[in-house]
Amino acid sequence: MFRSAHKLRSRHSLVFILFIWLFMNVVGAYGAIAPAAKKTSTSTADHTKFEVLQQEFATAPDVTKACLTCHTEASKQIHKTTHWNWKITHPETGQVLGKKRVVNSFCGSITTNYARCTSCHIGYGWKDDSFDFSSEENVDCLVCHDTTDTYKKFPTAAGHPTYVDKPFPKKSKKIWKAPDLTKVAQAVGKPRRENCGVCHFYGGGGDGVKHGDLDSSMTNPPRTLDVHMGVDGLNFVCTECHSTDGHDIKGSHYTSVGKDTHGIDIPGRDDHNRASCESCHGDKPHEETVNNKINDHTNKVACQTCHIPTYAKGGVPSKTWWDWSTAGRMDGDGKHLKMKDENGYVTYVTKKGTFEWGENLVPEYAWLSGEIRYQELEDRFDPNSVVPINTFKGGYDDPGARIWPFKIMRGKQPYDKGNNTLVISHLFGKDSEAYWKSFNWNRAIKAAMDAAGADYSGEYGFIETTMHWPLSHMVAPKEEALGCDECHSRNGRLAELTGFYMPGRDKSDLLDIIGWLAVLGTLGGVSLHGFVRVFFSRKRRNG
């Protein structure tokens, strides 16, 4: 009796365990595909309750003034950052970099084009070089802290939003709405992907143009697009890795770290910079097996190299070629041209020239150490070569350098034919010197070069350039990481990165020829020996 009851009970409990197991599986599976719940604010302050925010704001700087009544040091903190100054002195090279200084291969430079470019500056009113960088009220708190997605900086207003509804582009039917500043101010919170994205996803003049690993598809990416930021996965916001210290955001590519040797960041050995894979994963991230070669790679190969197999893979193309030399063409009626390819990608506009785009692009690879250098306005080059806009020091023998994946932007841009230097151009403005008004390169270049105090010979041409953009986003789930053969093969991804021995790719032709001659010679020798033996033994047998 006791025995059978016991049996019955154990059968019941078996069923019960099975049920629980099934239930957990179902819940687990659901949990895996269900988007993570929107992160609720854990702030100790409800900004709707602050009296200073319960007012009509005429302008956005008025909102900043209100913010500063409580956050008294915020603007002073911002004033120290690259986000504010667009200027950073590289600690190793001493080169002054940042948007304020460098010449890029997209729209060139901000000089004389301020009001257009500074629609992505975290300030208000940088419309010429007289901008006061010590102004506290001109710090834009809202662009980073808005949570309503209604606050937008107007494209040509030097960082201000529009205060009345108006169309952009001019004469178009697209109306930019003036934000309700009171509502926006009361709803501030921590920066979300959207906040960083309004500028960083659209760098270079449009969605996905510049970076290739940052575009609007990263606003709410699936896990398959970015394993860290995926809304159905970890749902990281940018600041999860780009950690901040007094509003100073880590992880600028001007000071990129080829190899983070700090290991996992924990209090006590934290370098206050989580913008590296090693900050969370350490420098031996893979499970140790008898073949520990994958962990061995971390000394020479950046994590990104294997874990970002392709970029521009969220459905938004990235610009790969920009040829300014073809700009300025009009149709018979003197109207601007705009051409698109079969994918709907814009391939020509009169203002900017010819473009090429790509999706699901395979990165190119190069050594990267912490040291980045930009081609400055006074640096001369060989006009018969392709000019690198930026270069990274590093190589196989440099212990601080590793192989990184890059988007390499290519194109043609104006240069000074007399001096063999890069030039900058005055593109944007209502004046007749502006290229986008008169389409006269010579005047546009002279205006910008004069404003920058740079020497211009008066004769321009177009030079092909490259610009390297290190990739760190769109990290694929681990199943999609590159297999060994992608590089360890005769014509793999690293075929062009020479100067070191890589198994599977490299060989000594001489040794291989000698080796195979020896092996085949031996085989031939024993075969011949064998045949002769058979021949003689038959002869013997036959008498």
Binding site: T289, V290, N291, K293, D296, N299, G483, C484, D485, H488, S489, R490, F500, Y501, P503, G504, R505, D506, K507, S508, L511, D512, I514, G515, W516, A518, V519, T522, L523, V526, H529, G530, V532, R533, F536, S537, R540
Partner: protein, 199 residues
């Protein structure tokens, strides 16, 4: 005349285990070198490393066995005259149906040419393979070992050269082992049973 035990049990075991290990090592090695694709690079490296460790484990026992039993003396080169006789046999007499100038006994298993061949295998090819292979495997530790100046290219070349030598050795070994006994596969059978058939 009774059959004589030529190869002891341990000797036979290590011979065949060695055979089982050497072949995949050569196959995966040449795949890692990029000469062909079968397992894929990662699997080839996994296999190569596992078999390499197994081989080194085996060879530790084999060396111990040679040392403690005195079997290492089998590899001491014999006189020049004996060597010439052996060369003459392979170059001339073998075709004419002449008899083998040496007879295998338990005490002297190896003919003068074999002595020289195996000696070079044991003191040149194998140690070079081990040393270059271990350096190759642990190249990230060179700094800790004070070997910063070493070049991976050189280490890889040496390892490859040793592999070619091993492959050439294997070809001659197989040819002689399979075909030169009185009846084909006679030596192979002896290496399985331990006994050499006497007429």
């Amino acid at each position: 005349m009774p059959n004589e035990m030529i190869y002891t049990r341990f000797e036979r075991i290590w011979h065949w285990v060695l055979a089982i290990l050497i072949l995949p090592l050569l196959l995966t090695g040449f795949e890692i070198h990029g000469d062909y694709t079968m397992l894929g690079f990662e699997q080839a490296v996994d296999t190569h490393i596992i078999f390499a460790w197994a081989l080194m484990g085996l060879l530790v026992f084999v060396i111990f066995w040679h040392m403690t039993t005195g079997e290492w003396k089998q590899y001491i080169p014999s006189s020049k005259n004996n060597l010439m006789a052996m060369l003459r046999y392979y170059a001339v007499d073998i075709f004419l149906g002449g008899g083998h100038p040496f007879h295998m006994t338990r005490k002297s298993k190896l003919n003068p040419l074999q002595r020289l061949a195996y000696l070079s295998l044991h003191v040149v090819i194998t140690p070079v393979t081990w040393a270059s292979g271990l350096l190759y495997l642990f190249y990230t530790s060179w700094g800790d070992w004070g070997l910063e100046g070493l070049s991976l290219t050189v280490v890889a070349m040496v390892h490859m050269a040793a592999a070619f030598a091993m492959l050439a050795f294997l070809i001659v070994h197989l040819y002689l082992a399979i075909t030169t006994s009185e009846k084909p596969f006679g030596y192979v059978k002896a290496m399985i049973s331990g006994y050499e058939k006497k007429e």
